[in-house]
Symmetry: C2
Subunit: 332 residues, 2 copies
DNA sequence: GAAATACATGTTAGCGGAAACACGAGGTAG
DNA sequence: CTACCTCGTGTTTCCGCTAACATGTATTTC
């Protein structure tokens, strides 16, 4: 910077002003400085600026698993939205679903210089209420309200309910459930909503089979489930397990949807092209990601407003996409 | 830091020494300092350290699209490997596939304080040879050698060749191809290898149908392709398009694999559970990601070696997974 | 036309750490 | 017993930038 200043014949401070947008610099000086910067290939040192200002221009994202379809979509939206606002994104993956680990990840990130953190909360932790460092603006992406931090997510319950209602509406006596792993929050909520909705409708609640999100687990679950003849409708907690269910049904000679209706969750891009095309629940995770970023940046840049927004939480409504994997039951 | 030093009754420098691992500090002083740090909840300021050392402890990843299955898997591996080495990861997504944009992203990242950059190169750029800033250690994840930077990737050609050979070996006269989009490097290479292998085997090279990686495009491509009766084998450039092909085949009454053999690429986790289970090419992208990180960190931490390693490039061999979507042709 | 005002720029003083060097106290060698 | 290390620790200085204040020069105001 000193070199630029010398070449342009101005003080370092003026260079700084030019770099940081127009404070009050004459057009002439600005041009001189800019030309000098170009000649010298000057690039600001972020570390120095961060040291001086306490701002980093970076958002951290903490999550358990990048591979989960759900998370990737959120992260992608977060990255693009953050970039649009001039922030970069640092990603941290947490191994164990313990509060301690999450906290460590958040701290690691804040140590690493982020202005704010988004935690994608998809795992049941060892502690009921996640407590996180308060030193830094923090937003949670999850489908549950009740955190001390602003939370954005999708309304899992609405989605699960829609799936159940759809199947009951077709005339099925009840709906069986292939649940996600016990350690997953979305899995728990989808399962709870499924159960609640069956009860509310006065139907029998068959014991759910628990999978682990993988197609294989759905396949195995279906093999167990379909030993009984009176299973006519299955709601899988995600599309991948639904694929396994479809496969198992085919192997067992149950035609979908004539002998068996299947509903998934997530609307994978392959869902419309499975055989048969899968009825499923679509969630607008891009909006979730964008909301997280917007809110976080607002907190970062206007800390005054943070207090009022503490309680914020908004949930995207999922949408049931009816395709060919569901139909009225055989004997209806 | 000053507070810690005062509380522990030592100088700031000693605190610094304790924080940065054991230089030469007495066990006693170390304990005093550590206890003081704990009492005060001391956390190092990364920006200050970066300013003083010129090191950031962060790796940048530049890519075009986080959502592509391929990229996510690499990024996930990169993040976990980087974390294992004490680095954090900053992610940048580039919109337009131009050299200018990539360069801008890399610069943005280095401005933003990274010690090294990994570029996941999956798009055909406007310029034949990507030229990137040399100021920072940089590794490219791509399936092509010939960059000025170390490159790690998978050998797409081997995978495509294996697919073709498998189908020819079953007795098919030739193999049709549903290609990925023209702007994609992997798509180009898979297509080129497919074509070359057909030629080398003295077979007719039918015109490929170009898709865009999406299941829908595979579906549409197959609808066009299957108007002709003598299509007995299709090699889709990725699994998602293969799913579309399977769907189209079913709609058109072609039984897979009896009437039509289909091979995909990527080995999605649902591939084994499609109907029929999809023969496909599996790539070890985790290894690719790990290698990128390892090499990059080596460059960062031992710049002396960087020179020798400039030429490095290693490619993971993909593996053909034979499942039920391929069989000898009908009239064989 | 003198004083008040606005505005463009320069000066000073850190931000929080880490190199580089300085220093004193023990240990070692001859 | 002295000269010389070695080792633990403290001092100084600087990393590159920006906030806050200081300065000086046009411009306005009555």
């Amino acid at each position: 910077m000193a070199d630029v200043a010398k070449l342009a014949g101005v003080s370092g401070q003026t260079v700084s002003r030019v770099v940081n947008g127009n404070d009050r610099v004459t057009a002439a000086t600005r041009l001189k400085v800019e030309s000098a910067m170009r000649q010298l290939g000057y690039r600001a040192n972020i570390a120095a600026r961060a040291l001086a200002t306490g701002r980093f221009g970076t958002i951290g994202v903490v999550m358990f698993n990048l591979n989960a379809v759900l998370n990737v979509r959120i992260v992608e939206a977060v990255v693009s939205q953050a970039q649009a606002h001039g922030y970069s994104v640092s990603v941290a993956v947490v191994d164990a679903p313990t509060e301690k680990d999450v906290r460590a990840a958040v701290r690691g990130l804040t140590d690493r210089a982020v202005d704010g953190v988004i935690v994608i909360e998809a795992r049941v932790l060892d502690t009921p209420h996640l407590r996180l460092p308060e030193e830094v603006p923090l937003v949670i992406a999850d489908s549950r309200a009740g955190y001390k931090h602003p939370t954005f997510g999708m309304d899992e319950a609405v989605g699960a309910r829609a799936a159940v209602d759809h199947l009951l509406g077709l005339g099925h006596a009840t709906v069986h459930h292939v649940a996600g792993p016990a350690g997953s929050n979305p899995a728990q909520r989808r399962r709870a909503a499924w159960q609640r909705q069956l009860k509310r409708s006065g139907r029998a609640v068959p014991p759910p089979v628990v999978g682990d999100w993988s197609p294989r687990s759905g396949y195995e679950a279906a093999h167990r489930l379909l030993t009984s003849d009176d299973v006519s409708a299955v709601f899988a907690a995600n599309d991948q397990m639904a694929v396994g269910v479809l496969r198992a049904a085919e192997e067992l000679g149950r035609r979908v949807p004539h002998d068996l209706s299947v509903v998934g969750f997530d609307d994978l891009d392959v869902a419309p092209f499975l055989s048969p095309p899968l009825t499923t629940v679509r969630q607008d995770l891009e909006t979730v990601g964008r909301r997280c970023v917007n809110h976080l940046i607002a907190q970062i840049e206007e800390p005054s407003k943070a207090a009022t927004s503490q309680a914020t939480s908004r949930f995207v409504r999922p949408e049931l996409i009816v395709r060919a994997s569901t139909a009225p039951p055989r004997h209806a």
